[in-house]
């Protein structure tokens, strides 16, 4: 009996295993293209196949009964179909729907350059910012090698696509930075306050930026601060110009960290060695102290706090333009304290929250004085008011407190809705010759919303809007922003952006007239980008229209003025960018070229004219090569800009401005060089990391002229030039703890 049973079982098993079903079919994507390499399987069995290059597959199975046949392929949603196996051939036509996937989806690149190590569409890495010759680890200087920016050397700021420097605003972790640069010194561009090593990502928008940001007519620079450091470490830097020391401490559980850094810069020794064309009666000195903490929260969010305090002073003396015997002395003392606290948190149901508060205060004590040959103050009678107004003291305080909340909700897949609000309270108080001017107080509120809409991986849209209200001008506005992107090939895409951007007038204008409205710019941008790992090609054309720019209305000569919104202008042009790390081994270079056609009627311009900060042609060539044999990197940057216009506007008898003189500066050329020697590179066991850094600006010694200053009567003009032909730098950067040797280049600079 037992034997019969077993025999029966055995035979039936044999029958089952002999009973085969053939399954064949074709796998296609949503567009009907065959999909190769898709995995076809009968769930819970071993049987299945892989589709061939034509999408075809076929296999036989000895299973029988009801099964689920599944077809899977990377980047596509799984396809499942119930099948009954009963020895009859089965034909399957599987159409796989594309999965929306951030890694594959198109990104909107119109108007925006991404830098950073995590960003997918990154054009530069943070190391690039530090190792671009001529940048000396100044973010702004590195960004000036990208198209769309002007080579303005006499003022700080990013002059983007025919926009003035103040039309670009900087944001750290979403919050506006009120004084991103060290305080202005006449005809001398100042460095940015923030080191590139504070940030893991940078988005430099040359137009058409997101509705989450406002109050910048031309451009937004979005800086994203780093999260927890990799390991604890101690840093130090030494150079004839400065020294610094600091530490980063990461908690044992790697959930929190804190850090503190101090740096002192004194260029006295350097000025003794390298002669300066201007007379520094007070050698520039900077003290900077910064501290931070970062805490990871349970649900993967992070709380970050960063604060920096700095104090700097300098005094320079230059020949007076109105009189050959006299000198203009300018003295500056600056105090700046910046605080930024942000909290990013993941909430339930796909919600994400970004909260931030920030406070900054900035105080400038400025002394401007006409001095005689013995460096003594020179008094003037009221009748020579144009000289009299060159003698003044100014105590200027600017505070900004702000809060911002952004909520984000993922909408099925990778589409997202973002909305929120921000509030800025700004306070501006000036004491001019010990007389208090109006205290400017502004309550600025904004509500914004935007949505990322992905129809497929090939088509994306970002639609947003921003409502803003400023109490000081008592005006509100609504700024729509739209951008679209369409993937035209594997690495290629076309994107476009449109947006309206408002900016309230500068405080120096609001001091005299608060009945002003917003200045306005409308951007239209069309972008083509082709990007692979080693090569980036970008071409962008744009048109920007300016309305309601602030005009200067003279009341009594040029001494008393008021302002209105009667200005206008436009900018149009082409930006080209090419970066290639592939063609020549171990050699990385990029080329930027910008063609700019812009005119504006603003301030004291009598008509629409090309502004004095704009150049028709601007180009940069950046080259980098790291030679591993000698552990040394060499960087060369060459920049060119065609001549910029300069004007002398004077008042006619009808109290109207006219062009008394105009011209064009000669072309601007500059070649910068830097090298870093990193003896510990690649040595993962080394405890001490050293970087030796040298740089030299304007290697070929071109005499740059940025423009001209005119005497009051217009008879003489004085060229605006850099204070020295070349700038040299040498520094040693040390860190103990972790191999940040490459990052350490120019840290604290």
């Amino acid at each position: 009996m037992k034997k019969i049973w077993l025999l029966f079982v055995f035979i039936s098993l044999q029958i089952i295993s002999l009973a085969q079903t053939k399954i064949r079919g074709k796998v296609k994507d949503g567009k009907g293209h065959p999909l190769a390499g898709a995995s076809i399987s009968l769930k819970n069995s071993y049987d299945g196949a892989t589709s061939d290059s034509l999408g075809n597959f076929s296999f036989t199975t000895t299973e029988h009964g009801d099964f689920i046949l599944s077809v899977t392929s990377l980047g596509y949603k799984d396809f499942e179909q119930a099948v009954t196996l009963k020895q009859e051939p089965i034909i399957i036509n599987a159409i796989l729907k594309e999965k929306l996937d951030e890694m594959r989806a198109v990104t909107i690149t119109a108007g925006s350059f991404s830098a950073g190590d995590t960003k997918r569409a990154a054009v530069l890495s943070s190391l690039d910012v530090a190792t671009t010759a001529g940048s000396n680890a100044d973010i702004t200087a590195a960004l000036k090698t990208l198209p769309g920016t002007s080579q303005v050397g006499e003022q700080e700021g990013l002059f983007v696509r025919g926009g003035a420097g103040y039309e670009t605003k900087q944001f750290i972790d979403g919050q506006l930075v009120n004084n991103p640069y060290y305080s202005s010194v006449p005809d001398l561009a100042q460095r940015g306050r923030f080191s590139p090593f504070l940030f893991k990502g940078t988005v430099f928008s040359t137009g058409g930026y997101s509705a989450l940001y406002g109050q910048a007519l031309s451009s937004a620079l979005l800086l994203e601060s780093i999260d927890l450091p990799e390991r604890s470490e101690i840093d130090a830097s030494v150079s004839p110009l400065f020294w610094g020391a600091g530490t980063q401490q990461l908690a044992q559980n790697k959930k929190s960290s804190w850090g503190i850094n101090y740096g002192y810069t004194n260029v006295g020794l350097y000025f003794d060695a390298v002669k300066q064309d201007v007379d520094y009666f007070k050698v520039p000195q900077f003290h900077t102290l910064d501290a931070n903490f970062r805490i990871k929260t349970k649900s993967g969010g992070i709380i970050k706090y960063y604060t920096t305090f700095s104090h700097n002073q300098l005094g320079i003396r230059r020949p007076d333009v109105d009189s050959a015997d006299l000198k203009d002395a300018f003295g500056l003392k600056n105090y700046n304290w910046y605080n930024n606290l942000t909290w990013k948190e993941y909430l339930n149901n796909g919600w994400k929250m970004n909260l931030g508060i920030s406070y900054s205060t900035n105080k400038d004590n400025i002394l401007q004085q006409v001095q005689d040959a013995q460096d003594q103050p020179k008094p003037f009678p009221d009748s020579s008011f144009w000289m009299l107004y060159k003698n003044f003291t100014l105590v200027h305080r600017q505070d900004l407190s702000q809060g911002k909340i952004v909520l984000e909700k993922k909408l099925g897949g990778i589409s997202a809705l973002r909305f929120g609000s921000e509030y800025w309270y700004s306070y501006d108080n000036s004491n001019y010759n010990d007389t208090a001017l109006i205290k400017l107080k502004d309550n600025y509120t904004a509500l914004f919303a935007e949505s990322d809409i992905y129809l497929t991986n090939e088509i994306a849209a970002k639609i947003g809007g921003r409502f803003e209200y400023s109490s000081i001008i008592n005006r509100s506005d609504f700024a729509p922003r739209v951008s679209l992107a369409y993937k035209t090939g594997k690495d290629a895409q076309v994107s476009m952006a449109y947006g309206i951007f408002y900016q309230k007038p500068e405080n120096a204008q609001l001091d005299y007239a608060t009945n002003l409205g917003y200045t306005k710019a409308t951007h239209y941008i069309l972008n083509y980008q082709k990007m692979s790992n080693d090569r980036i090609f970008r071409l962008e054309v744009y048109y920007k229209k300016y309305d309601a720019l602030v005009k200067t209305i003279p009341l009594f000569y040029n001494y008393y003025t008021t302002f209105n919104n009667g200005g206008s202008g436009y900018a149009q042009g082409i930006d080209f960018f090419w970066r290639d790390k592939k063609s020549i081994k171990n050699f990385d270079y990029w080329i930027s070229y910008s063609y700019l056609d812009t005119k504006r009627n603003y301030l004291n311009y009598p008509a629409q004219l090309m502004p004095n900060f704009a150049a028709t042609h601007t180009a940069s060539l950046v080259m980098k090569r790291f030679i591993t044999k000698i552990k040394t990197g060499f960087n060369v940057t060459y920049s060119f800009a065609s001549g910029r216009p300069y004007y002398n506007f004077m008042l006619d008898n009808n109290n109207k401005f006219y062009i008394a003189d105009q011209g064009k500066t000669k072309d601007y050329n500059s070649m910068n060089f830097s090298a870093e020697y990193v003896p510990s590179v690649g040595n993962t066991k080394a405890k001490t990391f050293v970087v030796f850094f040298v740089s030299m600006s304007n290697v070929l010694g071109y005499n740059a002229i940025y423009g001209y200053n005119y005497s009051f009567n217009g008879d003489t003009k004085q060229a605006i030039t850099p204070p020295a032909k070349r700038f040299y730098f040498f520094g040693i950067f040390l860190s103990w703890g972790v191999d940040r040797s490459q990052d350490a280049i120019n840290n604290n600079l």
Binding site: M1, K2, W5, L6, V9, L13, A36, G37, S39, I40, S41, L42, K43, N44, S45, Y46, D47, G48, A49, T50, D52, S53, L74, G75, M103, D117, S125, L127, N533, D534, K581, F626, T628, K629, I630, K631, V681, G682, N683, T684, K685
Partner: protein, 208 residues
């Protein structure tokens, strides 16, 4: 009644045995296919087959291991392959395998997947994927300090790193030697990974 119970036991044992025979046979068949695979498509094909075995078995980590291993092979040579996507797929197999059993062999696969991503752009990716690769190696060595394949991979990475960056033949040689020594001592379990010995010996010869 007793008989019925006995029969069902016998049947269960029979089926279980048949099941495991079927598993062993399928694994062996696909291991042979992997040995003879040449093109990227061949390797993807065999990887898919291992994945099916893993999905059906649910308690075996080896099928997922081989599904991952099969994908690492063409990534060393196929210039056209999207290595980021390939490596992500490999890591997904490693996740599935590790959900069943954590061991040094899986760390070896993870090391290769990260290394392949690093090689796309070593200069900028060294700090992310290079670190990930070395972390996986360390993790694996903690799990099994005597795994010859981990030493082989470590030595390979040293061999391919320029001398100025702390790599080179001389640094790699003692580690290839250690790998080869460990390979000689190793006793082989059926179906378990046994690749690497010949490669390690060849590389050691190159270092002489």
């Amino acid at each position: 009644m007793k008989k019925l119970v006995l029969i069902s036991f016998v049947l269960a044992a029979f089926f279980a045995n048949a099941q495991s025979d079927k598993y062993v046979a399928a694994m062996k068949k696909n291991l042979t296919l992997m040995d003879s695979a040449k093109t990227t498509a061949d390797f993807q094909n065999v990887s898919n087959a291992f994945e099916r075995i893993g999905d059906a078995e649910k308690t075996q980590w080896l099928p997922y291991y081989y599904a991952g291993l099969a994908l690492t092979i063409p990534a060393w040579t196929d210039q056209k392959l999207d290595k980021d996507a390939n490596s992500e797929k490999i890591k997904a197999f490693c996740d599935k395998a590790e959900a069943i059993e954590k061991n040094a062999e899986i760390s070896a696969i993870r090391n290769m997947a990260a290394t392949q991503q690093m090689l796309i752009d070593p200069q900028t990716r060294w700090q992310t994927y290079g670190m990930e690769a070395s972390k996986e190696l360390q993790k694996g060595m903690q799990l099994d300090p005597n795994n010859p394949r981990l030493y082989y991979l470590q030595a390979m990475s040293l061999f391919n790193t320029p001398e100025q960056f702390g790599g080179g033949k001389d640094k790699a040689k003692p580690i290839f030697q250690k790998s080869v020594d460990l390979f000689k001592k190793q006793d082989h379990k059926p179906l378990y990974p046994d690749w690497g010995q010949k490669q390690a010996e060849d590389m050691l010869a190159k270092c002489q």
